[in-house]
Amino acid sequence: MQDFVQHLVNGLSLGSIYALIALGYTMVYGILQMINFAHSDVYMVGAFAAYYAAKWLGIENQPGLMSLATLLVVSMVACALLGLTIERLAYRPLRKAPKLNILITAIGVSLFLQYAGQLVFGADPKVFPEVMPDITFFQWGDLSLRSSDFTVLIVALLAMVGLHFLIHHTKIGRAMRAVSQNSSVAAMLGVNPDRIVAMTFVVGSSLAGVGSVLVGMKYPKIEPLMGMMIGLKAFVAAVLGGIGSIPGAVLGGLLMGLSEEMVVAYLSSTYRDALAFGILIVILLLKPAGLLGRYQVEKV
């Protein structure tokens, strides 16, 4: 029982990280109908930005709320700028191109960031600075609730609430929803779709930035290829929840995190990476629109 609760907590905190990254995929997909393969590498750059910022500011060994906030801001800004640059330079020239070309461009950008990362940051793993003091809040037999899990949950929750507010209660959020429903009608009504797409990349990428700091806190080993697996899983989470749907991404992320934790705990850890794709394949075969997605009928 204690074991189970412990896995539940671990799964939830892992899942909320997946959810944060999945949000970036789902937002871009909702607005452009493209898979932003480079999203996972934006996340990687966010982790390194936080790492170097901590070194530069000398707060590597001063865990606390202030360091957490600083690193979150640094990582979010870095990711947002990178996302904006990618959108402007690589994706915008291809706005009218066939989908396949956009997908291939996204893979190209992703590879570029990975190799540039290996070149600039070095291929060897680095240790992420300690962001929060490691306190055990609660101990009951094998069950221990630690500060890192709590921080992950709370920060992720705050980010999601912030996103919800942005999308449903601000002018720019309304414009985003309008463009994702019908970009040309939105343009006719005075929304500049290019600006809104750029905004979407900024918001999605900064969520990846939040995710990267949280992952760094939970699993403090960062390397240039760290984005690949977690990115694929987050993408699967987005598809599981219904790609394009924001609550769906959160739900999908949590389900992914929980199921992965349970498989590792009760079955075998060698299959943890195959699990994600297994889930994906089952979902796409049984309910291609995802759990909360809308099914779109194809018209001539």
């Binding site: 997908l103 291939i104 461009t105 893979i107 190209g108 590879l111 794709f277």
Partner: protein, 325 residues
């Protein structure tokens, strides 16, 4: 019958001539690169049938390649159909079987996933590719993460050096692959592939069973990807699951895109370029001191997409350039 074999035979002679030049004029390093060119040619052409001609998108062809490679490697160590003296024939059998098992998997994978479109299909095939890799990692009788080493290679003899034997073996499959696919695409079946690519709804309303057509293309493509895998196992003589990762699939996609989607001669030219380019960039690396190869590679991919999205050849074939308009 004889007339239809003229062109394949002539091109085989052409490849042999290139092989002789390589045999006597170049180093072992360039020779092994030439063997990789052959493997990549088959890989690119097979993927072109799915991504180019049929307009689907597979990102998991490395998985089929892995199946072929493992079948080829395992059989060559444990089973022989022909007796001593005819061992060369065995390798043709192994290659056929490797390709066939890959084709069976192609059917199993394609049947459910080809109902999906575009991005989804890409991700599902990627997923299948990864699952195959993870499954191989967990199979102890296939060496697990250590892989299989000491794979026998095509026997030399009749005065042929080992390189020449391997090269002839590879060339045979390249020719077979090219002319098989070429004639397939220009047949009744091939019109089906093209119709699915051009407009799936229109094709369906004209009575084309689109899923069946797509699965057929996928199975043929998986067969040749498997063949490419077997060849790579015999050329490198060592395989492990990580040699068939995601990047291998991306490599093939890059060749198809660079050569022009739907152009088989384009795929061949792109396979040559993409295989040789990293080796040429090695000299650049010696000048700059850092490994810029993959960076240039990735940047080239993005630039091609933005500046010349149709690839080098577009949907044209080589012969279209000297044919009168």
């Amino acid at each position: 019958m004889l007339r239809s074999l003229k062109l394949p035979f002539l091109s085989f002679l052409g490849l042999i001539a290139v092989g002789l030049v390589l045999e006597f004029g170049f180093s072992a390093f360039i020779q092994i690169t030439a063997l990789f060119v052959l493997v990549n040619m088959i890989m690119a052409m097979s993927l072109n049938l799915v991504n180019g001609t049929s307009g689907q998108f597979s990102l998991g062809h490395a998985g089929f390649m892995a199946i072929g490679a493992y079948v080829g490697a395992y059989l060559s160590q444990h089973w022989a159909l022909f007796p001593e003296g005819l061992t060369a024939l065995n390798f043709f059998v192994y290659t056929l079987l490797g390709g066939s098992l890959a084709a069976v998997f192609g059917f199993l994978v394609g049947q459910p996933s080809l109902r999906l479109k575009g991005d989804y299909l890409a991700i599902v095939t990627l997923g299948f590719g990864e699952i195959i890799r993870v499954a191989l990692l967990n199979m102890d009788f296939l060496g697990g993460a250590r892989g299989i080493h000491g794979i026998p290679t095509v026997p030399d003899g009749f005065g042929l050096s080992r390189f020449m034997a391997q090269y002839l073996f590879g060339s045979f499959w390249v020719i077979l692959c090219f002319f098989f696919l070429w004639r397939l695409v220009h047949s009744n079946q091939g019109r089906g592939f093209l119709s699915v690519r051009e407009d799936e709804i229109a094709a369906e309303s004209m009575g084309v069973n689109t899923t069946a057509v797509k699965v057929r293309a996928f199975v043929v493509s998986a067969f040749f990807a498997g063949v490419a895998g077997v060849l790579s196992a015999y050329f490198v003589r060592y395989i492990n699951p990580s040699s068939f990762g995601f990047l291998r699939s991306v490599d093939a996609v890059i060749m198809v895109v660079l050569g022009g989607m739907g152009s088989f001669t384009g795929s061949i030219v792109a396979a040559i370029l993409i295989t040789i380019m990293p080796e040429l960039l090695r000299t650049v690396q010696q000048v700059t001191g850092v490994d810029l190869r993959m960076l240039i590679y990735a940047l080239a991919l993005v630039l091609v997409m933005i500046l010349r999205p149709q690839g080098i050849f577009g949907s044209k074939e080589l012969r279209d350039f000297w044919r009168k308009k």
